[in-house]
Amino acid sequence: MTPRVLLIEDEPNITEAIRFILSRDGCEVVTLADGLGAVQAVRKDVPDLLILDLMLPGVSGLDILVQLRSDPATARLPVLMLTAKGQGRDREAAERAGANHFMTKPFSNDDMRAAVRALTGR
């Protein structure tokens, strides 16, 4: 069964790169360009994995994560956080908010594939 991955990322080029990498690895990739409708989108159709950018226009990735974790339906959803800021603070904040994995941009494609495989249980 094809794992469904929801990617919330505002940089179109990065979105395109991740979609290409994960699609070729056998995932179904759905994307969102901003965080405003993210929570509703996830609740409507809970994916197998959520890849969440930390800094999104409109709303912070952290806020989205906190909201999802407070909802029983999405409390255990695997979440991979991405950030371009790459400071230790952000990693801690993400882990406190309940991220399962944390990756700093730029990342290697292999690391991305490995992380997604691990989080989708393959």
Partner: protein
């Protein structure tokens, strides 16, 4: 003489005295005392020593006891001639310390002890009581002798009524005289002048009677001499004990009597007057005593046996029909009595009010202690005291029966005030005298005097039961009032004098030796004992006077603290080869200690304190000035410290503000770095991901081309970002190099429009321009200004959300400035974001669509600052509106 006439004469005389006093006080108030403050007046005022006792009683004394009356004159003479240096010291101290009475003197000497003041006051009042009674008695006697019924048959009042009238009259007279106002120095020029007048009156009266006796009744001096030889007085034999005792008592009294102290010390205006008085006063006494024996002899000879010898001065002229002379004698006696009563009761009233009433009142009503009521209260207290003192005198007169001879009463008072002598003399000459010693000595002396002399004077069974006189209290015969410790063979007066003075002195010495004076006592002791040394003292150096090491240690502990002082003293003692804490007070040690103390309290203060302890000098004016200037320096220094403190506070505030700013900057810097990291990593992420995809191969050619383009765009984006960052850094540091020149504004806008057309080239924009207005030559850095224009036009192209986007560029010139507005027709910038747009990375929308790093407007702002102009957002223009303002002619680089 008819008694009403006599009363009138007395009143007239009193009014005359009052006028004299009033006149003298008027002169004093105007500062024109002149001869009123002469040695003559001073000497005459001392004559209040000669009271009615001297005037009337001496004759009686001579008639009864021969030449013994001379002791009363010899005592003061010896004191004034032989002990004038002690009197001088007393006067100097009195003036220097502002002493108001003998109670004040002793209290002041012994550490300003109020207890001592109270004791002295009580003794003085009690001892004065018989003395005042004596004056009442003599005036009453003379009145009863002299007064006769009036022509219309009114009989003179009896002696008791007379005594009351005299006491009341004297009280009123004294109150009117002595308590009209409150003088800070307790000096009464009016009274001193009045008693000087009275001194003359009594001398003239007595001499007149004497001359009348010698040349009127007898046939001159030789005849008089023969009559004296023939009289019983020549049978008189000298009793050495009594003679010496009486001389001692009268000598002591002349310094210790409150009234004598008043005129001699308190009223003294000039110390030099004393040197005149030291011979003039004995001379006065000599004149007063010259005719005593002739009058006594003639009285015994001419007057009937049993006539009161105390009244011979008055009764002799009367008996001889010399009414005028008798009147003069009466006024002389009256003068003697009134002057004594006035001064005595003023002196006592001062003591009572200062040492008893005021302390009690202040303790009862401390809150009102400083209010204006005090003066009125003091005056009231003095008036009441005067009345009480005279009342006591009258009571004594009544109680003692009015029968005792004048001389005996006077001697009781003399012995009483003599109790002050040990405390006073030791206090003046011995620094070791202490308050405890003074209290003990005075109390013991007073008790013994009262028990052996004063209380017995009321007669057996009056106060002390007759049984006690015979067998002693509780059958203890060694405590009999007239035979203390079994010494019964003495004359009662000498017995009392001997025991009271001996035990007084012994108690004083024992008390002083076994106690240690307090600091104030020590200071006062030094001030009293060394009152003459201050002028001669060597101002610096410790060659002359050295202090007791204990004193120095106590003082040093107070100043330096216990441990430091002990350590210093121990080290000094060790240097001298001594164990313990007490080095020898060598000049070197004293000098080192003074320097050490000076470090704590200042040099002048340290020296003054050491001087006090060294007993060398009282603090001189120079010392005090030095202390004052030192204090001023300290105050100045502390004021300087205070201003430094203010400055420090200001600096601290500035530092705090700077720190806050730095912290804020640091936060901004962190945020900025975080932003830059994000801005750099984002394109890097795409570049890396796609380059990895490309290297994995196995891709169709269009995708390779597509991904290659993405890599290219992201690389350019990175470069642009780095360029912007470097540009911004240069602009912010002010290190930018401007290339100034004259350029046409229209051409600059043309360049900017052409350049900005690469941004979103797909959008067609309508540009509105006002070309005639644009035709201005600006002196500026054209490339920089064009950079700003490009930014603004590009932003409009990127963000203007109108379907048919338009941009209006309008130019205006005003004075030396030119404004260029860029207004589009989009929805503009929300109001709450308008303040942020010029900040770095303040992107309002998705930056990828815009393709910028969010530094454009921040760079514009920095460029305009460098060009001496501004860039602002114009709200309310319908769309996004920016106004660029530049100077027409930029002359030099704006730092």
């Amino acid at each position: 003489m008819p008694f009403n006439l006599l009363v009138l004469s007395c009143l007239a005389y009193v009014i005359f005295l009052f006028a004299v006093a009033w006149w003298a006080e008027r002169r004093a108030a105007r500062g024109r005392l002149g001869w009123l403050q002469s040695p003559l007046i001073y000497t005459l005022s001392l004559s209040i020593y000669c009271t009615a006792w001297t005037f009337y009683g001496a004759v009686g004394y001579a008639a009864r006891s021969g030449l013994e009356f001379l002791t009363i004159y010899l005592g003061p003479t010896i004191v004034f001639v032989g002990w004038w240096w002690m009197l001088r010291k007393l006067v100097r101290i009195g003036r220097r310390q502002g002493v108001t009475s003998i109670a004040d003197l002793l209290s002041s000497r012994f550490g300003k002890s109020n207890l001592l003041g109270v004791i002295v006051t009580v003794i003085a009042v009690v001892a004065a009581t018989p003395y005042i009674a004596l004056q009442l008695q003599s005036v009453t006697l003379s009145f009863s002798v002299f007064a006769s019924p009036t022509d219309d048959g009114l009989t003179p009042p009896g002696t008791e009524a007379t005594a009351i009238w005299v006491a009341t009259g004297l009280a009123i007279f004294t109150i009117l005289f002595g308590t009209r106002n409150l003088d800070a120095k307790e000096q009464h020029h009016g009274i001193v002048t009045a008693i000087a007048v009275e001194a003359v009156v009594k001398l003239v009266a007595l001499v007149a009677v004497g001359v009348f006796v010698v040349w009127g009744l007898a046939d001159g001096p030789f005849d008089m001499k023969a009559r004296i030889h023939a009289s019983s007085i020549s049978d008189w034999n000298l009793q050495p004990g009594r003679w010496a005792g009486l001389m001692f008592a009268s000598g002591a009294a002349v310094v210790c009597l409150p009234r004598m102290f008043q005129v001699m010390v308190v009223e003294n205006a000039d110390e030099r007057h004393l040197s005149t008085a030291s011979w003039a006063f004995p001379l006065y006494l000599f004149a007063m005593s010259l005719f005593i024996v002739p009058i006594a002899v003639m009285g015994l000879e001419r007057l009937p046996a049993g006539a009161n010898a105390d009244m011979f001065v008055l009764t002799l002229p009367l008996a001889e029909g010399q009414g005028a002379l008798a009147m003069l004698a009466f006024l002389g006696g009256f003068s003697s009595a009134t002057s004594m009563v006035i001064v005595e009761s003023i002196a006592l009233a001062t003591m009572v009010s200062n040492h008893i009433v005021m302390p009690v009142w202040l303790r009862l009503r401390p809150a009102k202690g400083m209010s204006g009521d005090v003066r009125r209260l003091v005056l009231l207290a003095r008036r009441i005291s005067i009345a009480v003192v005279l009342g006591l005198g009258y009571a004594y007169y009544r109680k003692s029966g009015g029968s005792a001879t004048l001389a005996a009463i006077g001697l009781i008072a003399f012995a009483g005030v003599a109790q002050f002598l040990p405390a006073m003399v030791f206090g003046l000459f011995w620094r070791g005298a202490t308050r405890v010693g003074a209290v003990l000595g005075l109390s013991v002396g007073f008790v013994i005097w009262a028990y052996t002399l004063f209380l017995p004077s009321f007669g057996p069974d009056a106060v002390i039961p007759a049984l006690v006189f015979a067998e002693g209290p509780w059958g203890l015969d060694w405590l009999r009032p007239r035979a203390l410790f079994g010494v019964g063979a003495m004359d009662p007066l000498i017995h009392a004098l001997f025991w009271s003075m001996t035990l007084n002195t012994a108690a004083f010495l024992i008390g002083s030796l076994f106690t240690f004076p307090g600091p104030v006592e020590r200071m006062q002791g030094a001030a009293f004992v060394h009152v003459f040394d201050s002028a001669a003292a060597n101002p610096r150096g410790w060659q002359r006077g050295l202090a007791e090491p204990e004193d120095l240690l106590v003082m040093s502990q107070r100043i330096m603290g216990d441990e430091d002082a002990l350590a210093f003293f121990e080290a000094e003692a060790k240097d001298q080869g001594k164990a313990g804490y007490l080095p020898d007070p060598s000049p070197q040690f004293m000098a080192r200690l003074e320097r050490r103390l000076a470090g704590s309290v200042g040099a002048a203060t340290a020296h003054a304190m050491m001087s006090q302890l060294a007993g060398r000098a009282t603090v001189t004016v120079e010392d005090l000035m030095a202390v004052a200037s030192e204090s001023a320096q300290i105050m100045e220094y502390s004021a300087r410290l205070e201003s430094q403190q203010d400055e420090l506070t200001r600096t601290a505030r500035a530092l705090r503000e700077a720190n806050d700013k730095l912290t804020q900057l640091s936060v901004q810097k962190d945020a900025f770095l975080s932003q830059i990291s994000h801005e750099l990593r984002t394109p890097m992420t795409s570049i890396r991901a796609f380059s990895e995809i490309l290297t994995e191969g196995d891709l169709p050619a269009p995708m390779v081309a597509h991904y290659g383009r993405i890599i290219h765009d992201e690389a350019r984006r990175l470069t642009r970002l780095l360029d912007d960052l470097l540009d911004l850094s240069v602009l912010e540091n002010g290190t930018v190099q401007l290339n100034l020149g004259l350029t046409n504004l229209s051409q600059m806008i043309d360049r900017a429009l052409a350049s900005a057309s690469h941004t979103k080239p797909e959008r067609s924009f309508t540009i509105h321009r006002d070309l005639p207005m644009e035709n201005i030559f600006l002196r500026t850095d054209a490339d920089r200004l064009v950079q700003v224009f490009i930014n603004l036009i590009s932003n409009a192209r990127k963000y203007c959300d109108a379907t048919a986007p338009e941009l209006r560029i309008s130019v205006r010139q005003k004075g030396g400035r030119v404004t260029i507005d860029f207004i589009d027709n989009g929805s503009g910038i929300p109001q709450d974001s308008q303040a942020l747009i010029f900040e770095k990375f303040a992107r309002l929308t998705d930056q990828t669509r815009a393709g910028g790093a969010g530094l454009g407007l921040a760079i514009c702002r920095e460029v305009m600052a460098n060009l001496g102009g501004t860039i602002t957002y114009l709200p309310g223009q319908g769309g996004a509106a920016f106004r660029v303002a530049v100077p027409l002619r930029l002359e030099q680089q704006v730092a």
